[in-house]
């Protein structure tokens, strides 16, 4: 394999790490090439809130020392990665996309998932831009600027983990960690044309990350192919006592299953998930469903109510979480975030309780569907990436306000915590993502389907500006 391929990131994480472990490429050289690329492209894309030059170089040197001593640095040896700016990085203030958090003390330790990647040999190159407090789908941050989509820099990278997705799509790092409360991994994966995974609620510990909605927050990885995504996910797994919602469940690695024969009962989601997608999204979901052998479509009649309940509960929970700052530092919020959080804090108890009961009903509805199906397929976003600042998106002939409606297709599903892989389907101009929805704890099914789709050329990533 050409060194150029390794340095460009086209090789994939497994090959890059192997080249470092074998001593064919030094981690230091690899990280320097990636830092150079970041310095060249980030001023235009604005993926990073901070580039951690010193830490990255120090970690790369440590990897090279281990290799020189004959010690295996791990399955991610020298692999450059980033984290959304709501993950703690030791010695650094976790901004969560706000300026209010700047008053907090620096983190005393890395977030647990960051520790796990580092222990596997990965090298953190920086923290990545996001919507303020993760409350948004476009990463147009009033304080840190907008992240631009590498596929078309006039367009949104999606959000709220937009910096992470755009950085992976542009080859500024090989993988990244994001968070997904209502779609914040799946939406930017869709707009940027990469792979993303939102695991089952409770699968990965959130210890050392800044919350948004405790009962809906999930952590998960981005990557440019399904193999890399599964490898990162495998390394992230495992219980941690620091997150009370993390299930005490054994690790269930997936990577070794990706190439094994795979059959599943697959259905395309109709109804809400068809009506709220444009022609490109519907065609992409249909192509994925056909490739996986889907039979008759399935309709979830509670999807609209579940989406509305998730939307409402999110505002109320966020308003509750930020109540103190909303009183003492209201002017320091992005106005759009502040007004939504304050409105959420005013909702009557009846609405909140009803939203929670609607979630129970929808969860039961989905469980019933999973008695007859193993995977459900739906578009990830109503449309491909909109222009930055675009006020409305058009969905099935209807103009809808952009920001509140990008999550129409992701929100009902994360509301009930099921695992979902987002896979990229290329269009004529822009990619769009498709959700592969699995029963609770069956990330393996979603990832195996993602790998199969990649092998068949249905799900592919196009890295921009390669070497």
């Amino acid at each position: 394999m050409k060194l150029c391929t390794i340095h460009s990131g086209l090789a994939g994480i497994v090959a890059i790490a192997q080249a470092v472990r074998d001593g064919h490429v030094s981690a230091t050289a690899l990280i320097e090439s990636r830092l150079t690329r970041i310095e060249r492209l980030n001023p235009r894309l604005n993926c990073f809130t901070e580039i951690l030059f010193d830490r990255a170089r120090r970690e790369a040197e440590r990897i090279d020392t281990l290799v020189a001593e004959g010690i295996d640095p791990g399955p991610l040896a020298g692999v450059p990665f980033g984290v959304k700016d709501n993950y703690d990085v030791a010695g650094r203030v976790t901004t969560a996309g706000s300026i209010i958090n700047a008053a907090l003390p620096p983190a005393g330790a890395d977030a647990v998932l960051l520790q796990r990647l580092t222990a596997a040999g990965a090298v953190l190159v920086g923290t990545q831009n996001m919507d303020e407090y993760a409350y948004g789908f476009t990463t147009e941050n009033a304080h840190y600027g907008a992240t631009r989509n590498p596929a078309d820099t006039g367009r949104s990278a999606g959000g709220s983990s937009g910096g992470s997705a755009a950085a992976v799509a542009a080859g500024l790092c090989e993988g990244a960690l994001g968070t997904d409360t209502n779609g914040s991994i799946r939406v930017p994966a869709s707009f940027c044309g990469i792979f993303g995974l939102k695991p089952t609620f409770g699968r990965l510990p959130r210890t050392g990350t800044f919350p948004f909605v405790h009962e809906l927050d999930h952590l998960g990885p981005f990557a440019r192919n399904a193999t890399d995504l599964a490898l990162i996910y495998d390394i992230l797994q495992g219980h941690d006592v620091g997150d009370a919602a993390c299930a005490d469940r054994r690790r269930e690695p997936v990577s070794h299953l990706l190439d094994t024969p795979f059959t599943a009962r697959v259905a395309l989601l109709g109804g809400w998930f068809e009506e709220k997608a444009d022609a490109q999204g519907r065609a992409a979901a249909r192509a994925v469903a056909d490739a996986l052998g889907a039979v008759a479509p399935v309709v979830l009649p509670g999807a609209e109510a579940a989406r509305a309940a998730a939307f409402t509960l999110t505002a109320a929970s966020g308003g509750n979480l930020h109540r103190r700052a909303l009183q003492s530092r209201a002017a320091d919020f992005d106005p759009a975030t502040r007004d939504r959080l304050l409105a959420g804090a005013l909702l009557p108890a009846n609405i909140i309780l009803q939203a929670q009961r609607v979630r129970s009903l929808f969860r039961e509805q989905l469980h019933e569907v999973f008695r007859h199906h193993d995977l459900l397929i739906a578009p990830a976003t109503p449309c491909a990436a909109p222009l930055l600042g675009q006020p409305t998106i058009e969905v099935n002939g209807q103009a809808l306000p952009t920001r509140p409606n990008i999550g129409l297709l992701t929100q009902p599903l994360s509301f009930v915590g099921v695992p979902i892989a987002a896979v990229p389907v290329q269009g004529d101009a822009l990619p769009i993502g498709v959700q592969i929805v699995a029963p609770p704890w069956r990330e393996d099914l979603a990832l195996r389907a993602a790998a199969l789709l990649e092998r068949r050329g249905i799900a592919t990533t196009r890295m921009r500006d390669s070497c």
Binding site: P335, D339, G344
Partner: protein
């Protein structure tokens, strides 16, 4: 989705008082608009439910 329902700023200010919040008068219009959006959404799921529908998470073995 319909547009947000118009909400009187004085009404929103009173709601905030009940909730123990004070809202800067300059922010009232934006909060009112967003509360209207939220109430429109809530209207989509406020039909009465079976009284046995349990809001708590249910754990299965």
């Amino acid at each position: 989705m319909s547009g947000p329902s118009p909400l009187d700023a004085a009404f929103v200010g009173a709601l905030a008082q009940v909730a123990g919040l004070s809202i800067d008068p300059d922010h009232l219009a934006g909060v009112s608009r967003n509360l209207g959006v939220l109430l429109d959404q809530a209207a989509l799921f406020l039909d009465p439910l079976d009284p046995l529908v349990e809001p708590a998470p249910v754990y299965r073995p």
